[in-house]
């Protein structure tokens, strides 16, 4: 009884080894191709993140200049008014 149980265990283990070893595997070159692709994706994600920051900074700068321009136009009108009153 014990003998047959041992035999069964060994046979099962060998079967699983055969099943894992017999399926098709990618070559080293193909694995490198996948790694390169993943690296390119990660790099693109970093570039997009930097570009989005740059875009946000530019939007802030433009909004600030808009406000300054508006203030400048108001100042100019005020100076013209004061010059007339001089």
């Amino acid at each position: 009884m014990k003998k047959s149980l041992c035999g069964l265990l060994v046979a099962g283990a060998m079967l699983s080894l055969v099943a894992a070893g017999c399926s098709s595997r990618p070559s080293a070159e193909e694995l490198k191709q996948l790694e390169d692709l993943k690296a390119e994706v990660a790099s693109l994600e970093r570039e997009i993140s930097a570009k989005e920051s740059e875009k946000a900074a530019l939007q802030r700068a433009i909004a600030e200049k808009d406000a300054q321009l508006k203030q400048c136009e108001q100042d100019k009108a005020l100076v013209q008014e004061r010059l007339q009153g001089m």
Binding site: G7, A13, M14
Partner: protein, 250 residues
């Protein structure tokens, strides 16, 4: 028998471990799936990056245009007040100087402020000068000069509030009034040696401290130690007296 059982158990365990490691390795199908997924993602990211770059380029152009418009507006304002960036810098430096002078005076005690009250007038002249410049019409300077004027007014007010009394000079025959005796009065300083304070506080109407006239209304500065200016005036007074005495003796 036991040896055989133990051996077969070890072999079984080793085979199970080897097959587990082999099962973790990527299959060709899995590789293909990941290649497809990552290729699609890369293409999507490339398109997104290109679109973002176009947006950023447009924003950069907008930013440059706004900067140019702002410069033009500022230049137009300077032209209106007939100023140049250099003259504006000089004007701003003058306002800084006024601020620093006012700050210096504001830190003084009432007594010291009284001794240096002439400097308040100097600051007032600087403010008046600044007002004549058309640059003072620019809001940023207009409000600043207004604030400076308020601070100078406050300094004058604090001088008035320093308990400045006045004293009307009586006659020598009746009151024995001279600067020494006036300073000695308990209601004034109760200290004759402080007479130079009255002299220096009334420089506009007392040229020679030995001569004051009945009916003259003298300002009495706040009591306190003689300032350096007052001490210097006393020294020069005594030197003059000695010189006169020397001349008279010859």
């Amino acid at each position: 028998m036991n040896v055989v059982r133990t051996f077969s158990l070890i072999i079984t365990l080793a085979l199970v471990m080897v097959s587990a490691v082999a099962a973790q390795e990527m299959t060709k199908d899995e590789w293909q799936r990941q290649i497809n997924e990552n290729t699609a993602k890369r293409n999507e990211l490339r398109a997104k990056l290109n679109a973002l770059q176009a947006e950023v380029d447009k924003l950069k152009k907008d930013d440059a245009d706004k900067a140019a418009a702002l410069k033009k507006c500022n230049d137009e304002i300077l032209a209106l007040v007939e100023a140049t960036p250099e003259s504006e810098r000089a004007f701003a430096a003058m306002l800084d100087q006024i601020d620093s002078k006012i700050n210096e005076l504001a830190r003084l005690s009432n007594q010291d402020l009284w001794a240096r009250k002439g400097e308040i007038d100097d600051v007032q002249k600087m403010i008046d000068e600044a007002r004549k410049n058309k640059l003072s019409l620019l809001p940023k300077y207009y409000d600043r000069i207004k604030e400076q004027q308020n601070r100078v007014d406050a300094l004058r007010k604090s001088l008035e509030g320093a308990g400045m009394q006045t004293y009307t000079v009586g006659t020598w025959a009746r009151d024995r009034d001279c600067l020494w005796n006036i300073a000695k009065k308990p209601a004034i300083y109760n200290n004759a040696f402080l007479w130079p304070k009255i002299w220096q506080g009334n420089k506009d109407q007392i040229k020679n401290p030995d001569i004051i006239k009945p009916g003259q209304k003298l300002k009495i500065p706040p009591k306190g130690d003689l300032t350096n200016e007052e001490k210097a005036a006393v020294r020069s007074y005594w030197q003059r007296k000695q010189a006169q005495a020397g001349t008279g003796g010859q």
